[in-house]
């Protein structure tokens, strides 16, 4: 399939701020002295576009490659193949000074609130670090900006001189979000930002993210495995399995009418806080296959309740539907 030029695939009224085309990430894993290294295809050809003030949710379970995709989009890891563009400018494989300049465009918030802040530095030092490294702003101005951002995420100025271990998980995530915003990026990649938080704290942080998105015109890439959270905050949803996209659609369409069997299984497996609802659960058999030896044909076929002979022989391509939906399933075409 010949790829359409990047500029031609604009899915929204605004110019996309982030575009990825056929991103691939492969790792070589050493398997001892004498065996040849194993090849792990963490991400196998993902394309997406993202506009400002929109949230793209990347959904998948462990081993789906969603975190790796997030890290590539955040320019933390270079893709093995494929193209990435920010604001229309090709940034694939940038390094050195150019990469450093791009840090102002895209930042990341990590999953674990207990590991993403340097335990030996005060909150103020952590918040000022992006400014120290990237700008020439004087210490007074830096301090002012750090305190300002701290206030925006709902913390008080006296918290600035304290250390991370004195804060709760929810507060640490707020600090992590503040840090990500210090350079006023256009895109923020959030890797499971609320998964480790309690329900009541989760709601606070999600509200904060919604407010900040409007205030700063941010584009979010929201990586998560929790469909109930995704349903609340996403505009578009992309479902991943074993490194590839199995379905991509606007949120309402995906939840109302999931087309891929894996999406359907995920949706039915997600517990719903409503005891009255009829259970129509599709329980998948088996486990995720080893990334060293993906099954032939469709990666999902060993666990798929609808698999046919063609699924075992031929890998399905991402089929573009008429309503902007994309599905990778022989049976959905």
């Amino acid at each position: 399939m010949t790829p359409a030029p990047l500029a031609a695939r604009i899915a929204d009224t605004e110019t996309p701020v982030l575009e990825a085309h056929d991103l691939v990430k492969t790792y070589e894993v050493g398997r001892g002295f004498f065996a040849p290294p194993g090849l792990v295809r963490a991400v196998t050809g993902i394309s997406l576009t993202l506009a400002p003030r929109r949230t793209l949710a990347v959904v998948g379970e462990s081993g789906s490659g969603k975190s790796t995709l997030g890290r590539m989009l955040a320019l933390i890891e270079p893709p093995t193949d494929g193209r990435l563009a920010i604001d229309g400018v090709d940034v694939t494989g940038v390094a050195g000074a150019r990469l450093k300049a791009l840090r102002r465009s895209v930042q990341m918030v990590f999953q674990n609130p207990y590991g993403s802040l340097n335990p030996r530095r005060t909150i103020r030092a952590t918040l000022e670090e992006p400014l120290i490294v990237n700008t020439d702003i004087g210490p007074d101005e830096r301090r002012a900006r750090a305190l300002d951002m701290l206030a925006r995420v709902g913390l008080r100025p006296e918290h600035a001189e304290r250390y991370p271990h004195m804060f709760s998980g929810g507060q640490r995530q707020r600090i992590a979000i503040a840090r990500a915003l210090m350079l006023r990026p256009k895109i923020i990649v959030l890797d499971e930002p609320v998964s480790a938080l309690d329900v009541s704290v989760r709601a606070q942080v999600l509200n904060l993210l919604a407010d900040l998105q409007q205030e700063f015109a941010l584009a979010y890439v929201f990586v998560s495995h929790d469909l109930s959270v995704v349903r609340h905050i996403a505009d578009d949803v992309m479902v991943m399995y074993l490194g590839g996209v199995v379905e991509q659609a606007p949120k309402a369409a995906l939840f109302a009418d999931p087309r891929h069997p894996y999406t359907r299984a995920l949706l039915s497996a997600t517990p719903v806080a409503d005891p009255g609802r009829a259970r129509d659960r599709i329980v998948l058999t088996g486990e995720l296959p080893s990334p060293f030896a993906p099954p032939p044909g469709c990666a999902f076929n060993p666990r798929c309740p609808l698999a046919i002979e063609r699924c075992r022989a031929e890998k399905p391509m991402l089929h573009h539907g008429e309503d902007g939906r994309r599905t990778a399933c022989h049976l959905a075409e």
Binding site: V199, S200, A203, A210, P271, G276
Partner: protein, 334 residues
């Protein structure tokens, strides 16, 4: 006869500064045979600590006290360690949250299951092996004979949790306590494990106490629910009743804060945080965050309402979302 009877369980921990920290304050629970009860709470609610106290698994710095703590009528308080070992692990079993770190990494799966069998049932080697294979098959592990020699690090999260469950049910316990068994697992695996637990309850006549923070899991699996907040039991009701009409403001707020119940872009979040070790106050522990709290709530500790109001620990339990004055208020000024 009730299987497990807990009345007014309190657990205090000795702190480094010399005082006592009350992690569990007055939890009461009765579990009937074959029942699935869920204990719901967020971090700091004391839900795990309460069940660990029942099992006798708390560290030496913990002081456990209760009006009554009995299993099948026999008192569990103050019994000798030997007597406790005869019950715990055999008739009451527990599985934990992190399957990857709950299994001993130095020993094979077969050895660990065999440990439970030889300690409590005194089976010989061949019998242990046969029973281990039987158990692995029961919990849905494919080709069980080959898995006996596997080490924990060779198993995935879902597999490890199944092995843990196999170990726990090895001696056919009458009560299984599951402490957040699926929190660390993927959603599709979670569905498998929960379905397994319910199936085991049906097949093996086992009661299940499910500790979780996920209201969805509660709604789908539990028959009765106990809600805990900051160590106190704030509500107890049948599942359908709890979700339909929560009586304690915390339960109502928790349900409202769920993303799936959101009607607009902003979630009705509960402001503030769970009171920690250093900021225990007079009156109701939830009062600072409660949107129907009155002056009375911050001064006087609430008493428990009747069973029809979910035994809510609240001065003004909610009925259909509105706070009501209790009939048994006993002249406490409004």
């Amino acid at each position: 006869m009730a299987l497990l009877e807990i009345e007014n369980l309190c657990v205090d921990f000795e702190t480094r500064s010399g005082g006592l920290f009350r992690a569990v304050d007055g939890v009461s629970l009765t579990v009937e045979p074959r029942e699935i009860v869920s204990i719901v709470g967020e971090s700091g609610s004391g839900k795990s600590v309460a069940m660990l106290a029942v099992m006798g698994l708390l560290p030496k710095t913990a002081r456990v006290s209760a009006d009554r703590l009995a299993f099948e009528g026999a008192n569990l308080m103050g019994i000798s360690p030997a007597a406790r070992r005869r019950v715990v692990g055999k008739d009451i079993a527990m599985i934990f949250q992190e399957p990857m770190s709950s299994l001993n990494p130095c020993f094979t799966v077969g050895f660990q299951i065999g440990e439970a069998l030889s300690t409590h049932l005194g089976l010989g080697r061949a019998a242990r092996r046969a029973r281990a294979i039987e158990l692995l098959d029961l919990v849905g592990i494919p080709s069980p004979e080959s898995r006996l020699a596997a080490f924990p690090h060779q198993l995935s999260g879902g597999m490890s949790q199944r092995v843990m469950i196999a170990m726990a049910i090895a001696c056919s316990p009458k009560l299984l306590i599951a402490d957040e068994p699926t929190t660390a697992l993927d959603v599709t695996i979670q569905a498998q494990i929960l379905e397994l637990l319910v199936r085991l309850r049906d097949e093996k006549d086992m009661a299940l106490v499910l500790i979780t923070h996920d209201m969805g899991v509660v709604a789908e699996t539990a028959e009765r629910v106990v809600v805990q907040y900051a160590g106190r039991q704030v509500e107890e009701a049948d599942t359908a009743a709890l979700f339909r009409d929560p009586h304690h403001p915390y339960t109502a707020a928790l349900l409202a804060a769920l993303p799936e119940r959101a009607t607009e872009k902003h979630l009705p979040a509960i402001p503030g945080m769970v009171p920690g070790q250093w900021d225990r106050l007079d009156g109701c522990l939830f009062a600072p965050r409660c949107d129907v709290a009155t002056d009375l709530c911050s001064r006087v500790e609430p008493t428990r309402a009747g069973a029809d109001l979910g035994r809510a620990l609240c001065h003004t339990p909610l009925v259909a979302g509105r706070p009501t004055r209790r009939a048994d208020a006993e002249g406490v000024p409004a």
